[in-house]
Each structure stands twice: as C-alpha cells, then as structure tokens.
Amino acid sequence: MSPAPDRPEQDLLYSDVEEELRASVRALLAARADSARVLGRVEDEQPLDLDLWRALAVDLGATSLPIPEALGGQGAGLRETAVVAEELGRSVAPVPFLGSAVLATGALLHLLGQGAERGGPDAQAEAALTRLAEGAATAALVIPLSTYPGGPLPAVSADGDALTGTVRSVADAAVADLLVVLAGDVLFLVEAAAARVTPVVSLDLTRPVADVVLDATPGVRLSGSGEAAVRAAVLVGAGILASEQVGIAEWCLSTTVAYLKERYQFGRPVGSFQSLKHRLADLWQELVLARAAARAAADALATGAEDLEITVLVAQSLCAAVALHAAEEAVQLHGGIGMTWEHPVHLYLKRAKADEIALGTPGRHRAALAPLVGLTA
C-alpha cells in the first residue's frame, strides 16, 4: 500500500536514536529507580523522586523532547517522548512525567502552535515552556486524571484574572511549581504556591494525585483557545499513555517468564508446564499487538496524521486492557510471592488499573471510536 501523498509514511519501528535514548533512560532508571528503591519510597511523605526527575530533565533532556530548541528543549517529538514513557512504565518510576512533560507541555505547545497561525506566539507560554525545558520548574495540567477525549472539562470560573473552582484528582499536581488551568476557553498559568493543592489517596502509589482548590487565585492569562489546547493535550496524553502501558506489560511478562524459569516445583521449573506456557504465549501475542498500536499512536502524534484520533483511540482502548491483563497474570503466576507487599508486582497492577481509568477508559475510547470508523448503533 503506497502512502497518500500528503501523509508521511507510517513508521512503527524504533529508530537508532530512539534505541539509544531508550538505553540511556533505562540505564539511569536501573541505577536510580530499581524495584527496591521504588518500593521503598511509595509510603514516604513525598512518593515522587524529584532527584531522579531532575536527572531525567537536566542530564538526559528526556522531559523536554517535544519542546523546540529555541525554548531550551530538545527539538524532537512525541515518538521519542513515547519511548521514554515506555521505559518509565517498565520501572513504574515515580516521576511527574505524565502531568508535566506530557499533559502540561502538550497544552502549552498547542497554544504556541495556535499562536503561529495568529501571527505571534504567547510570550508567557514560551517562558513557561523554557522553565520546564531547563528543568527549573515542573507543571501540571489541572484536569482530573480521568478526563477523556471529547469528555467534559473542569469548570473553573475567571473573574478578570482571578480564578475560582475545585478540580479533583490532578496527576502530579502535588510537586508542580506551575499549574496550567482552563477557565472558560482561556488557559491560565497559576503559581502552585498560590493555590491549595491537597494530595489524596490514590490506588496507584507511584503516580500520586491531588485536589486543586482555587479561591480567587491570581493567574496569568494566555492567548489562544485554551479548550482546544487542553483537548489536544488529552489526546496526546492518551496516546503517550499507550506506550507507558506497553512498558508495564513488557515488564510484567518478562519478569514472570524469568520467575517461572527459576521457580522449581515437583522437581521441574514451573514454566515447563504447558498450561502456564500457553498463558505466557497469549500474553506475548497481546503485547506485540499492543506495541504496534502504541507505536502507531506515537507516530501519528508526531506527524499529525489525518487519522490521529482513530489511531490514539485504538491504541488506548487496546493497551489499557493488555497492561492490566499482563499485571493480573504476573500477580497470579508469581504464586505466593506475588501476593506480598515486598514484591514489586503489586505496583504494576495498581499502575495498570489506574492507567486504565486515566485519560479515558477503554469503553469511553471505543464509544468515541465507533462513529469515526462508521460503526453506529
């Protein structure tokens, strides 16, 4: 099949640069976010590892990949961002990547893109992106983590530049310096210190959420359509989340395979039993499919393909279920040890379950997908 002339050829493989970026991120995470370390800090007062976050941001440049070089970013794109998300999923590293580097960055970048059409980008949005790119600040997009493409957005009211409203379960808000808030159709920048940010208990111990309360809190108004920017960011987030889910599933499968090879029962490795092999083979097939879907979404996000929305909805509805299934199988196939707090697999199960709800459940995605592909009830 030859590609349409206006559409760059789809590429589902990883480039050399992407593989090298992966190797660098993986080496950093192996040294700084191994299972013991991640497990050790989930019950801390501050579960997010901000030293690791700084290393990812400043040393590797892994948190500012889609930000233009002129603003201090890497001038890369969402394909590379997706590779980092995969690795972060593999280690369930507790860093505010989704909230800051994907959602908040995605909304601000979309505003800049709109600015180009109007004849001038917003200087405040540029300054904020520069702070993020330099690793000088962390941001959060103030929407519930469960917001889905096409779904309702939070109702924050603006009286002049004073914002009032409550938004629940905002990912990575507790460590954000900068909040990106939608009020009406306008996006505002709010210094987090001026808002009330209260961490709340989440099922997912490695991605904390917080409630954000604004009470006549001053914000800086950004030009452009805030709603379009937030909707675009939710779509970007859903697409990148698919890659994180591939990472989760991959860790669950490879760790389970390794365990079943070394765990002996009845004088033979448990993995030699055919019924277990079948379950692992099924998982592997699901993983391969999920990876292809997630890569397609990352590629479509990077190239702005015409079928972007369809590709993201397919990936998100598929990968969410695969990650969860892989995590459930990992818990069960690990036997007794899989049920213990000391084994990291429960972190993956919780992340997979939270990710299934984050940025739209598979059901929501399928409901949104159906009319786009001509399926009507």
Binding site: V17, E20, A23, A76, E80
Partner: protein
Amino acid sequence: MPNIVVLVKQVPDTYSERRLSDSDHTLDRDSADAVLDEINERAVEEALLIKEAQGGEVTVLSVGPDRATEAIRKALSMGADKAVHVSDPALHGSCVIQTSKVIAAAVGKVDGVDLVIAGNEATDGRSGAVPAILAELLGYPQLTHARKVVIEGTTIKVTRETDEGLTHLEASLPAVVSVGEKINEPRYPSFKGIMAAKKKPVETLTVADLGIDAGEVGLASATSTVVEAAPKPPRAAGQKVEDEGDGGAKIAEYLVGQKLI
C-alpha cells in the same frame, strides 16, 4: 589543553552468557549482547571531566570488528569529539601484544597526544596488560590502576589503588593512565549528545593503513592462544555433618582443617 585519547572496547555484556567459539577458542562475539565495557565508560568520563576543566580534545580509539561502532557511538554520545576505529578481519584472535602494537600505531595517527586513558582491565579478556604494554611501546610513563587523576600543566599526578594500598604517582605528559572502578561515575548520554554523536567524525583504519603487515597480527602469529576451554565444573556437594551433640566441635574441626580458624 590536553589532547586525550581514550581506549574503548566492545565486550559481551557481563549479564549474558559468554562463550568461546568451538572452532578456534576465540571470543564468540555473536553469542552475547555487545556493550561498551563499563570501565571504558569511566575512562571516557575522566577524559570528559579533564576536557571540561581544561579544554582540549577527546578522541576515542577502538580496535574491534565492525559492530564495535556501537560502542564508539556511545562514547561519542557521552561527549567525546571524534573517533578512530581500527577494524580488520586480520586482527581476529590477536593477543595482547599484537593488539597493543596496533593501538600504539593508531595513537600515532592522532596529532599531539598528551594523555592516553584506558580502563584497567576489560571484562572479557581480563588480561589487564594492554595499558602497560602500550606505555612501553609508546615510550610513555605508565600510571595504572588510578582512582584519582590530576593534571597540572605538563605534570600528571595519579593515586593508584591496589590490594596493598594507595601509591601516589607523578609523571610528565605524555603518559598512559588506566583507571579503576572508583575513579568516577560515568554520565548517561543526553538526547542532545546522542544527536550530536551522529555528526562526529569516525576514521576507520585497517592494519595496512597503520603500516602493519597483516601477518604480524591475528591468531596465526599470536604470542598466546587458548588451547582448550571448559566450563567451570558444577560445585561439588558440601560435606554434611550430622549433629549428635558434637556438631559444634565438628564444625570447628572442619574450619581448623581449612586453616580458617
């Protein structure tokens, strides 16, 4: 502004199963994942630290098959400026002396070298002799097993760490240094570093380009060859002591027999 050459080697990943090939007992490079040897990452890091403090240029030098370019790329993405890659099928099975001769000739291709930094020992061959042989061939002083390197003008000071303790060495440049595990923590390649590495020059040379006859290198004329290789025998079953009230005494007897107490 020291001009530094860092020796790097691509080795089989120590986490994978490493084997010798059945036919000639040389390293079976296809059986395991190939990586930049970790000690070389520290050597590159040390060169970069010196460059960042004093300026100069860092050249990566590797002798190895074509796929060693991956290890070279990694060193370049960490921040080295350029690379020399000696790749020639004639080098297959070369011993440490032959290899050192090739490295010495390749170092000669780099203008005005002040310092050669190597890892103290590769994780595959583990001879740990190349830095010393190279220093001898180049006529440079050798400051091996460094855990601290300080350069002041044309003087180099090194703290050498061995099982016996620390030795403080001083020499004038040019010199050969080999670094140990404690020298530093290597950096991770940044995205910008990875992109920049694509554009950095890698000069590929054959042994003929170095003015060495192909007959002088390789397995046929090597000074040492592996005659036989066998896997480590499985650990024998331990000695069981039944405790009939005298278990403690029997354990003490055993430990005395082993000269442990």
